[in-house]
Symmetry: C2
Subunit: 337 residues, 2 copies
């Protein structure tokens, strides 16, 4: 008993030390995609940053009131999905056939519960469809028509496919189709895969730590412009684009999805903390700057662990990203590491 009391005392002193280092009780990180940032003017940069801030404020308001990490992740992602600047929800890219096929996933780090949808076409906020799969079905992942049908009958707000039409994305599709046709004439694969130089941005994601010490992560995207054959990227794949475990960390990825699937980036980062006992920032940097780069892949991620440490590495020119800490101070960045 004496031993236990001494141990408890040591833990108390240690936790005092932690708060002395200003580690937060709760925190929230969001991203709006990584990419070459070719056409981003200073005026546009301001609009993107304003979008990130609005998302952070929505999540922070919940966390401050004792909301859960899952609730904060949903709230932040809904804001980004409703903002036509980002390639998720309202601003989603067009597929080769001219449709908007949306993917999203969400995970609760406490009980390792998860939900995901791929290729939905009528759900206003795909992150809510992913959440409905997690909460109201025995499944983790639904796709296509079945996922739309599930969302429609389980409380999600539905829209007509035309809701997702934006002139900006339609123009990108017309350009992409021309490029693909030229490539096909040259005998190359007739499917869209952005090179690192061309990589567009706009997938959105959020990771959070709440005051109960629980982690959550979510990701939402329209995929890549002119995608074909019902391609599924990393965003709706638990372990690739999204993962959360209280024993490791919460992660949301963005970039060339195929590389993130092959490396299992989100799960691998959590494993590096849980199994390898590496610090979050070191493990995240290793994945993005070593492993992803060695394969020729481009992108980035956001992550948070239970101590409130955050990491936001990317190997592209920029990544829309931001975070808010317990005191409400918001920071957003586009370029610079």
């Amino acid at each position: 008993m004496l031993f236990r009391r001494v141990l408890a005392l040591i833990l108390l002193v240690l936790s005092g030390n932690l708060s002395a280092q200003n580690l937060p009780r709760f925190a929230l990180v969001v991203h709006g995609g990584a990419g070459a940032m070719g056409g981003v003017t200073p005026a546009q940069e301001s609009r993107y940053r304003a979008g990130l801030e609005k998302a952070l404020e929505a999540g922070y308001a919940l966390l401050k009131e004792g909301g859960t990490a899952i609730e904060a992740v949903r709230a932040s992602i809904r804001v980004l999905e409703d903002d036509s600047l980002f390639n998720a929800g309202k601003g989603a890219v067009f597929s080769y056939e001219g449709r908007n096929e949306l993917d999203a996933s969400i995970m609760d780090g406490k009980a390792l519960r998860a939900g995901a949808v791929a290729g939905v076409t009528r759900v206003k906020n795909p992150i809510e469809a992913a959440y409905a799969v997690m909460e109201q079905s025995p499944h983790v992942m639904l796709c296509g028509r079945g996922a739309d049908e599930f969302a429609a009958t389980h409380g999600c707000q539905m829209v007509k496919p035309a809701y997702f039409y934006t002139t900006a994305q339609r123009k990108l599709l017309i350009q992409a189709r021309k490029t693909l046709r030229r490539q096909q004439h040259q005998g190359k694969s007739g499917s869209a895969q952005a090179s690192k130089k061309e990589l567009k941005y706009g997938t959105v994601g959020a990771v959070a730590l709440d005051a109960f010490g629980n982690l959550a992560a979510g990701t939402s995207t329209g995929g890549i412009t002119a995608k074909r054959w019902n391609r599924i990227g990393d965003s709706p794949i638990i372990g690739a684009g999204t993962y959360a475990s209280n024993a490791g960390c919460a992660v949301s990825c963005t970039g060339q999805g195929e590389f993130f699937i092959r490396l299992g980036v989100a799960k691998s980062l959590s494993d590096q903390l849980e199994i390898g006992h590496k610090p979050l920032q070191e493990a995240a940097a290793d994945l993005i700057f070593e492993k992803l780069a060695a394969m020729g892949g481009a992108g980035g991620l956001i992550a948070i662990d239970r101590k409130g440490n955050i990491a936001m590495p990317f190997n592209t020119r920029g990544m829309f990203r931001g975070y808010v800490r317990e005191d409400g101070s918001i920071c957003t960045e586009v370029f610079n590491q």
Copy 2:
């Protein structure tokens, strides 16, 4: 330089020790699903084991001639897909709507390349569609109609959906629909999820080590009887049902797919070797008997590492499984650990 030569010498001696322990240059492991094995008579057990043996022989013939691990995995899985006893290819289960929607994935541990299809309805051998995605597209995962269309235009043998009709599976669907209707009347979720007691078997998979020291893994399934809403299980998800990395191991899973996705079982096992430096059998047992069991999940996996160590743990009553070593000796099992 001297240090390097001494190191090389040590490595040589160590590798001598390895071969002295009769670890194989190549080996192949297959499974035909884990489950309660409720209705398996001794006569049926013989037929299942004969199916596994045929699959092992097909892969072994290639490995013996210097074929790659990927070729052996494809060959073994094709045999099991063509055998109506197993819930993959020809013998796939029916969805709630009465369709056969097939999933498969494959991964090459050398270059971490991967391919997967979900919900195809017209590809005779879904593992070949997964392989075509890996070899002939910039993508990792395609689903639904798009995946069928890709397979049809990239060399896969196509069949009419009626090819997958089997009386045995049709009977299981009729039973399952009755159970679901009863559950819906009781206000429970109207989707199929087999309890541990009811869990059927039949997902197939293979993992191989070839004479070049490369690993590969593949999995193929019809999913769960009466699945709805285009549910995607773990089999076509890289990192969940299938993973292969020369730095870790090759893994194929079977069981209640949702649990395998949430734990990221295949990637996690490989990480436990790569990051945690755990022995294969210890890491595999930890995942199935501790982590999966703690969540209330049921199933099993097969795995092989670069030294030719194999693991085949399961926490169900049985798992159809077998392996063949370099000398051609085949072993198949259904019950017993």
